[in-house]
Amino acid sequence: MRIRLLSLALFLASATLFAQDYFPTNTGVKSKNNNYTAFTNAKIYVTPTQIVENGTLLIQNGKVVQVGKRVNIPKNSITIDIKGKSIYPSFIDLYSDFGIEKPKSSGGRSAQYEASRQGYYWNDHIMPETNALTSFQFDSKKAAEYQKAGFGVVNTHMQDGIARGTGVLVALNDDGTDGDRILDDTSAQYFSLSKSVVKNQSYPSSLMGSLALLRQMYADADWYAQGNSDTKDLSLEALNKNKSLVQIFTAGDKGHALRADKIGDANNIQYVILAGGNEYESIADIKATNATYIVPINFPNAYDVSNPYQASYVSLADMRKWNQAPSNPRVLSDNGVPFTFTTHDLKSPAAFKENLLKAIEYGLSKTKALEALTTTPAKILGKSEQIGSLQQGTYANFLITSGDIFDKSTTLYENWIQGQKNIITNKDIKDISGEYNLVVAGTTYKLSITGEAEKPSAILKQDSTTIKSKFSYNEDWIDLSFSTDEGEKKYRMTGLVASNSSDISGRLIVANGEESSFVASRIADAKAKEKKESKEDNAPEVVPVTYPNVGYGYAKKPTQENILFKNATVWTSEEAGILTNTDVLVKNGKIAEIGTNLRASGATVVDATGKHLTAGIIDEHSHIAGLSINEGGQNSSAEVKMEDVVDNEDVDIYRNLAGGVTTIQLLHGSANPIGGRSALLKLKWGENANTMIYDNSPKFIKFALGENVKQSNWSSYSRFPQTRMGVEQMFIDYFQRGKEYDEKKKSGQPFRYDEEMEVLAEILNGERFISCHSYVQSEINMLLKVAEKFNFTVNTFTHILEGYKVADKMKEHGAGASTFSDWWAYKFEVNDAIPYNAAIMQSQGITVAINSDDAEMSRRLNQEAAKTVKYGDMTELEAWKMVTINPAKLLHIDKRVGSIKEGKDADLVLWNNHPLSVYAKAEKTLIEGVVYFDLEKDKQQRASIKSERNKLIAMMLEEKDGGKPTQKPIMKQKPKFHCDTMDTEW
């Protein structure tokens, strides 16, 4: 056995020594250079933690043969003594489009709803069959840029589409052929959330659409793998074939990283995730993904805030981003999140070092930084044996530097790739710095040469007077010229720096053209530069992250309190009605007791004398706290989920709290008849999206009728349906298919999992409720009839502005209503909208809520409810229910929220005045016993925003004064969403 192993080892050794190549040559004889190269006396970073001082690196045929302190240097070696210099493995970039042309938009403005390909997946943006190799062309110019930044290997791919196919691992070896350079032609499989710019298919048109498409793609791939498809699908075949590769997901943002990870979890895939640089803002959630991150380091420049008017446009959140982003790598490292760096998002790899040093300045350890550039990316790709270190047998990809590669003053001399030398800076330049006596035409001058070896500068003095001179040092030659006697006497000289002499001598030419010689005799070393008092040792000040990390975010997440409200006017929204001089005790997040003269030890007592306590307001129809609202790429998008796109940093959450709102239904928009699934949220400002979503949330979906779904008010004429007649037929089609799907599924036959049909089946089975955007009576009546035909109930008609015309029919059907108080006249279908609508429907026994559909109106829904008193003479008690218990009933959460009742969630608002009055102001807003809004705290927030802005502005001004680049002051904004807001980017 031992002998066999030995012979195997010998065989392997000889294989490396005498690898056969089989390419004929016709340009000469077929010689091969099998000499060794040995680098001696170097500090060698074999790995970030295995460092050899005064070591030798021996390479041959592009690979590392041996490395260490004692290396036998074969006779046929070229030995290069690099005493005092360091050797590092060269860097690896896992996320690049090197050598692949940037995909261009093919134009085409009109909506295209069908796929354009045959034999591939039904959606054009799913292109796992893309093989980056087919469009790869080695780009020497770009390779040189990477080399200069220290990179030896990049992983490139086609950056287009949602499933982007496979990437190619390339060594940046300019001297070799693709045969040498391509280390792996299917190195990883890539995904993203952005659709192709080349393909025009409309779907998906939103973030949640991309996510749904990915989920369906994986389901379809499984189904296809089991041989269930009668037709060929080259996309799914490729996806399945490349399943075992590294799966890299382009998230580019902390929130998207979590979204991607969720899809991965559902499909047993652990993606490697392209980060966004803002992971530090949600580090706990990021860590929980267990993913490795590819981190870009394009840290933002400071904003130019020198003009105070312009400075006011920059939000605190954006100022903070400038201040905090460089700490992202450190935070990832401190939290044990594995990561590698990429040049992606940098204008050019040239900016890489500067940003990397910044990350280190902000606390990232140098060892971690080196790991992130070498061993970690190699490990991700499963290529640790070949790249990322200088262990025996790896490619000879390494850097020669003047010293610590993470030091600002260090020079990168050479970047060797696959044993090929690329000179970045000439390392063999002789350092000529020193003090010289220069003798020119009989006069002696003092010449001081200082600075870096490659680019020294000189000062010339006669006695103690400095003489203006010109000096250059290039390719071992110096040039020096100066004049004396007020320009009378001019001297020009040029001389070779001899390797064996410390003096410099050469040819001198004087003004009249006569030639003679000069000599500069070295008399002393250069004077050591006075070290400037450096403050660099102190890491820059980073302002703390808040929850969420934007203006009005809390320094500490607010926590649950036990609170006793004393002597309030309590609007119960229950049969008990309005109770005066009543106490309410909040304990452990619940309403524990309602009564008089209550006592509770340990509870914070709030004197509510003269104040009104109500249940938190519930907005049945909201579009705040969403990153995206409409998936309009298809006429049905039941597969999309608003829960996927919750934006917990939306300042409108805070503003809603200031208006007494505690629960919202984040609805999909009304761009299509069958919209997406809702997210029921508690507005827990400071918590993450998942925490905001209701536990055991009742299931809802948005439907829509009328002008929006038939695209009346924007110029698109090709998507079915374009009329109310078509809307009915579309519903029948979908429900019929949903029914058939469900029957097939229940029959036990094999079936293709279809997320959209799953949702339709839920509706048919009464497990999911519809909230249907609707205006005119004909369409309302139509949907009632369709639902009755399929034997389910429409839970809620939302907007429902002509509900008053068919209130009797709605009542009979069992539908609820959620309407605007007084909106009308903004489009044709609201001509007959009347502010008496809520009152009329209520009078007919319908459960009626008042909703907002608007980030402004939602923060004063109490006033909107009050309008039903003005229009239609509602009692105040009933009016108040329209924004509390009634929407709770419509949302099937009335057992938990919507009224003040013992045992219910302590979602409460303390008002300074009658809550239906325009004069009322919310003083405290609680969710589950946590005070999320408090007028007093709000005052402090304002003050701290002001002072933090001032502080950051001062820091940015200092940055500008220090000559650092700045960016123009801008105000980033996300659009304010309504039902009909179409997404254009995400």
Partner: protein
């Protein structure tokens, strides 16, 4: 034949019930309102008041305990509230019926400097949106075009009229100028970030306004002039007959606008919007610039602003000594009926009640140049007023019982009240 048409018309009215309300007829007999809490609109309240008006004008405003002969028809209004009609500035009432229906939209003409475009001639006095203003107490409005940079000429109207001539209270009262912005929205479809970024054209935009005004002024003194409609339309600004309504929000923009326009010889300025005016009140006081603030029911412009900044804007400016009114230019047309509640919102956020009322009565009347005849309950002024069941600035209690415009008893019914009644009847008949 004539009779048949007449009958047919009447038939149409009755059957579909969708036609507009008939304007109230001229005041023929004196009217006395007794016992109401009268909010005069100038800050004063008379708890137990006596108001009388004849021929469209107020003839008595005082205490009900006054021993004085009550004239004409007496309305007992003990405990009710009387207010001067509310005035909505910078609206497009009557210029657009349904926002999304292009055919019904006349609010913005094309072109850049178009002061000759006059709103009054397109004003549809029979708009269903207009009649919906009255039941909330909004009885007068300024109608202002919206297109271009210099958008055109506005007029002030009363909201119960047969036609635009009948409606006009002050024809061609002012010209509306949308001052350029030093920041502009990013063209995200071209790859720029969303949101606001510096506008490189800002200086150029200002220069073109100055050039236009300079030319218009030179035209004043031209002898033997050929008609230049745009320049001719500007003359009222130079002779003091018209005001210039300048729409600007930023500090820089406001300072640039006021300084540039005053230098160009226009003294009669009104600032419209003025989101950041609260930061430069000294400047505005010095130049005596009234402000029509954006309606309170708006979100703050930037994320770091106080959540209640729009709510308290009027108070901040009033406290600084400025003359302040409210306008709702940026919002949907129908929202103008919520004008009283904007004032109410200002009260919730710190303003004195009667001072907030002034925002939509006396102050706006003065800003629009109709203060001598409208805006307060005072002897000699127009009897444009209404009686409400309760506090008219609170939606909870705003319920109109009677409304009068120039003494005419105007209808408080609307397309909407009719539908309300029609369907309640349908259900009660079932």
């Amino acid at each position: 034949m004539k009779n048949i048409i007449y009958i047919l018309l009447v038939f149409c009215f009755i059957t579909n019930g969708l036609a507009q309300q008939t304007p109230g007829s001229l005041q023929e007999e004196a009217i006395t309102i007794e016992g109401a809490i009268a909010h005069l609109g100038d800050g004063q309240v008379i708890e137990n008041s006596l108001l009388m008006f004849e021929n469209g004008k107020l003839t008595f405003v005082g205490d009900a305990r006054m021993k004085i002969a009550r004239k004409g028809k007496i309305i007992e209004a003990k405990g009710k509230h009387v207010y001067p009609g509310f005035i909505a500035a910078c609206t497009v009432l009557g210029l657009v019926e349904v926002d999304a229906v292009r055919a019904s939209n006349d609010q913005a003409e094309i072109g850049g400097m178009i002061p000759h475009i006059r709103s009054i001639v397109a004003y549809n006095s029979e708009s269903k949106v207009i009649e919906s203003m009255r039941p909330n107490g909004v009885l007068m409005a300024q109608i202002a075009p919206k297109g271009g940079v210099i958008s055109g000429t506005s007029s002030v109207v009363q909201l119960d009229a047969w036609n635009w001539e009948d409606a006009a209270v002050k024809t061609d009262d002012g010209i509306h100028l949308h001052w350029p912005n030093s920041y502009r929205r990013g063209r995200f479809w071209q790859g720029e970030p969303r949101g606001m970024q510096p506008n490189k054209e800002y200086k150029k935009n200002i220069a073109s306004i100055v050039e236009f005004i300079t030319n218009a002024k030179a035209y004043t003194d031209a002898t033997n002039k050929q008609l230049h409609q745009e320049f001719a339309a500007m003359q009222g600004l130079f002779n003091g007959n018209q005001k210039l309504y300048v729409y600007a929000d930023g500090e820089k923009e406001i300072i640039d606008a006021v300084s540039t326009l005053k230098d160009s010889g226009i003294d009669n300025l009104v600032l419209v919007g003025g989101y950041n005016a609260y930061k430069i009140t000294d400047f505005l006081v010095k130049h005596n610039i009234p402000v029509l603030v954006r309606a309170m029911h708006n979100l703050p412009n930037s994320n770091d602003d106080d959540y209640d900044l729009p709510y308290k804007m009027a108070k901040l400016l009033t406290d600084a000594g400025l003359l302040v009114g409210i306008q709702n230019n940026g919002e949907a047309n129908f929202q103008n009926r919520n004008l009283p509640f904007y004032a109410g919102q200002a009260i919730a956020y710190g303003m004195e009640k009667e001072a907030a009322l002034q925002l939509i009565t006396k102050n706006t009347a003065e800003i629009l140049g109709i203060g001598a005849s409208h805006g307060t309950l005072a002897v000699g002024k127009s009897a444009t007023l209404f009686i409400s069941e309760g506090d008219a600035l609170d939606m909870r209690t705003n319920k109109l019982l009677h409304a009068f415009i120039d003494g005419r008893n105007v209808s408080l019914e609307t397309h909407q009240t009719e539908l309300h009644k029609r369907y309640m009847k349908k259900y009660s008949d079932q």
